[in-house]
């Protein structure tokens, strides 16, 4: 396929012949350029109004990387505490996830009577080896010609040997991190080694649970065996309750919080839709000829919509306390305004012929509404309610974070402790899955109920 081409003289002739038409085209070309300039100027103003250069200077990208790592990896602490005469290997340093002295992980080797008095060799990931003996830590590795030694016993930490770039030297705290996955801190009373591993630790079962570390095949076999672990319940129930009650991950609590959020969105939207519909009839000019009440209802819609969900939820949290009911009220009140307005517009656009047809057969007012009006506004009613159901699932997480409860509050809590980023990621993933599921469900219902191929 080839385009029709015109020579330069031909173009000139066409330009002259259709000057008025092409002139419009050129003028139309000017305003987008002007608009673009305006936007660029505005963004430049905003760039400095929000003090972006300062923000970039102060931002902690390294912190972001560590957070990212922490949310997809876990660390095992190997600690020698000189003040408390203690040696411990524990997942995330948790008291409840401490390895027994005779069952240490295979990358920790103890030579001598025990971990505190003897020598501990720790095999790290990047070919490095950390050795704790007495009060000193020795690092050997591929890029070290002589071992780096830090000694913790005195008032200050002292060091000898080759000092690589990945060591942070400070008499109060020497910190070394040869790779992202190997890290050690030496302070005057303590040597603390962290070794990182990919994955979420003890996601299914607590460290101390008898089920920890079992494969799914083992669990399956266990569920069907008559040999009860807990004499009070069947193995299948035990397997479930151990998972549900996992202390680190709190699957049961997270599920309950998600349920609260979904309840908030669902009930809030239902109440808004069913309160908004009758009010919408009162706000529609073709059904309520009385202007004063119509005006009042419309301003009521504008008011509850304009006050905003943020303010409503703050007021309702004061009145009803924390919990899903508060969220339901906030969503219901705000969306009564939004949905009421949308419905009343739909009602005003109703085709009057069907109502008149019903009237000519002598139908009562109620029958006229039922068969003349409702079938016309039902598609709008259903599709808008479902749209808002999906959007309110998102709003419910936000209201939750303000204090109403549910998954939003759970998220704020885990963020505040700032320790378990893997829990935060877990909650974020679950929230996203719920929102996407609501989106898919409401889209599917919308197509089913309104009989439209696409929304």
């Amino acid at each position: 396929m080839s385009a029709i081409t015109a020579g330069a003289d031909e173009v000139g002739r066409l330009n002259a012949a259709y000057a008025d038409v092409l002139g419009v085209h050129r003028r139309q070309f000017l305003w987008p350029v002007g608009l673009l300039v305006l936007v660029v100027v505005y963004l430049a103003y905003a760039f400095f109004a929000f003090n972006v250069p300062d923000l970039i200077a102060k931002s902690r990208l390294d912190r972001g990387i560590l957070l990212g790592l922490d949310s997809v990896a876990y660390k095992v602490h190997v600690e020698k505490n000189l003040r408390r005469d203690r040696f411990e290997v524990a997942v995330e340093g948790e008291r409840t996830a401490t390895y027994a002295e005779d069952a240490l992980p295979d990358w920790v080797t103890v030579t001598g009577p025990n971990g505190y008095e003897g020598r501990v060799d720790i095999e790290m990931s990047g070919g490095y080896r950390f050795t704790i003996e007495g009060e000193s830590l020795t690092i050997t590795g591929p890029d070290l010609s002589t071992p780096f030694v830090a000694t913790a016993g005195g008032r200050e930490v002292v060091w000898t040997g080759d000092v690589p770039t990945w060591v942070d030297l400070d008499p109060r705290k020497v910190e070394a991190r040869p790779t992202l996955f190997d890290r050690v801190q030496v302070t005057s009373g303590r040597i603390l080694v962290f070794r990182y591993f990919w994955g979420w630790e003890d996601f299914w079962y607590d460290f101390r649970s008898p089920l920890n570390g079992l494969s799914s095949g083992d669990l399956w076999a266990l569920a069907w065996s008559d040999d009860r672990i807990d004499p009070d319940m069947s193995n299948a129930a035990f397997i479930f309750s151990e998972f549900w009650g996992n202390e680190g991950w709190q699957h049961g609590d997270v599920f309950k919080a998600l349920l609260e959020t979904v309840i908030m969105a669902f009930l809030g939207t239902v109440v808004a839709a069913f309160v908004g519909l009758p009010l919408a009839f009162l706000a529609a000019a073709n059904f309520n000829p009385e202007p004063v009440s119509r005006f009042l209802i419309r301003r009521f819609f504008d008011f509850v919509r304009g006050v905003d969900m943020l303010i409503w939820s703050l007021i309702f949290i004061r009145a009803f306390g924390l919990g899903p009911l508060t969220g339901v009220m906030a969503i219901a009140v705000t969306d009564t305004g939004t949905l009421g307005k949308l419905f009343s517009e739909a009602i005003e656009n109703v085709d009057n012929k069907q109502v008149e047809g019903m009237q000519s057969t002598g139908a009562s007012a109620l029958t006229r509404y039922r068969f003349g009006v409702i079938p016309q506004i039902l598609p709008v009613f259903i599709s808008q309610s479902l749209y808002y159901l999906e959007s309110n699932t998102r709003s419910a997480t936000v209201i939750g974070a303000l204090g109403a409860g549910g998954i939003g509050l759970k998220l704020v809590e885990t963020l505040r402790t700032g320790k378990d980023w893997e829990n935060t990621l877990y909650i974020i993933i679950l929230t996203l899955l719920v929102v996407i599921a609501m989106d898919i469900t409401s889209g599917w219902l919308r197509r089913k109920l309104t009989g439209v191929a696409r929304d």
């Binding site: 385009a3 963004l43 009803f320």
Partner: protein, 285 residues
């Protein structure tokens, strides 16, 4: 074709009718059950009950109104004091809307089959829109505040991120519903892809784009105010301070400012949108 008597037809029709009624009834019953169970559950999980809550529902607004009345004419100065915070919130929303719209246009063009951008990218762009749309602004904002520190920028990024997906979906629906006549005409005349988009597609989609963008701007003002509440600056931050210090007059001033802004923007954008696309405009958030 087999002969069918009127009786048979009638029997068939009434059986269909009965089945339809049964399914409608079943659906309604399940729906009612869900509502009742939901309310029972919500009432149980709430820390304060519904009935005693109703009694003190007006306490808080009353306290605010009383303190505002006590402040007298000095209260109007407060509106002036908080104006910069309001402007910051509006700026946050505006910048987020601009960036969000730009990304949304790119995503929606890439995600529409009929626009012949590059077929393999269509499903990719659609999935990206699904995911960014599902992100509640708050989640991303909280995370970014942790990394970048308390400032409006994390909120802007979070709001823009969500806007890209939400607007992208609406834009790609607009793209799919265009009249393909002009596009075919331009293709037949041998116009390049840029020219086809500029002269056959943009004039058709721009009014709808602008109208959706205005609607989004209004929503983003609300979102920015809420994000201020978790430390992103602007009017939300001031509101949280006022609430934790229980300054009734300040709370009232901030409520009024927020309310007026939303009302004004709502009215202006409503009018503009009606002029752009005409008739009823049912917007989805």
């Amino acid at each position: 074709m087999a002969m069918t008597t009127v009786d048979q037809l009638q029997a068939h029709a009434s059986s269909l009718e009965r089945r339809r009624r049964f399914y409608t009834g079943l659906g309604a019953a399940i729906f009612a059950l869900l509502v009742v169970l939901g309310f029972i559950g919500a009432e149980e999980m709430n820390s304060g009950g519904f009935i005693q809550g109703l009694d003190n529902f007006f306490d808080y607004p009353r306290a605010i109104v009383v303190e505002t009345a006590d402040a007298g004419t000095g209260w109007f100065d407060l509106l002036w004091v908080y104006l910069p915070a309001l402007i910051e919130t509006i700026n946050m929303a505006a910048v987020a809307t601009i960036f969000g719209t730009v990304f949304a246009v790119v995503l929606s063009f890439a995600g529409t089959r009929g626009l012949q951008v590059w077929p393999p990218i269509v499903p990719v762009a659609r999935r990206i829109m699904d995911v960014t749309r599902a992100f509640p602004e708050l989640i991303l904002a909280l995370f970014l505040i942790f990394v970048l520190g308390s400032s409006p920028v994390p909120a802007i990024i979070a709001v823009a991120f969500h806007t890209a997906g939400a607007l992208g979906k609406l834009f790609s629906e607009v793209n799919e519903n265009i009249d393909r006549g002009p596009l075919e005409g331009m293709t037949a005349a041998g116009a390049s892809w840029t020219k086809r988009m500029r002269w056959a597609v943009l004039p058709q989609v721009l009014p709808n784009y602008t109208s959706y963008m205005l609607l989004r701007f209004e929503i983003n003002i609300r979102a920015s105010a809420i994000l201020g509440f978790v430390g992103a600056g602007g009017i939300g931050t001031e509101l949280r301070k006022a609430i934790s210090w229980a300054n009734g007059a300040d709370i009232a001033a901030l409520f009024v400012l927020l309310f007026l802004t939303i009302m004004v923007i709502d009215q202006i954008s409503g009018r503009l949108r009606r002029r752009l696309v005409g008739g009823m405009f049912a917007g989805a958030r």
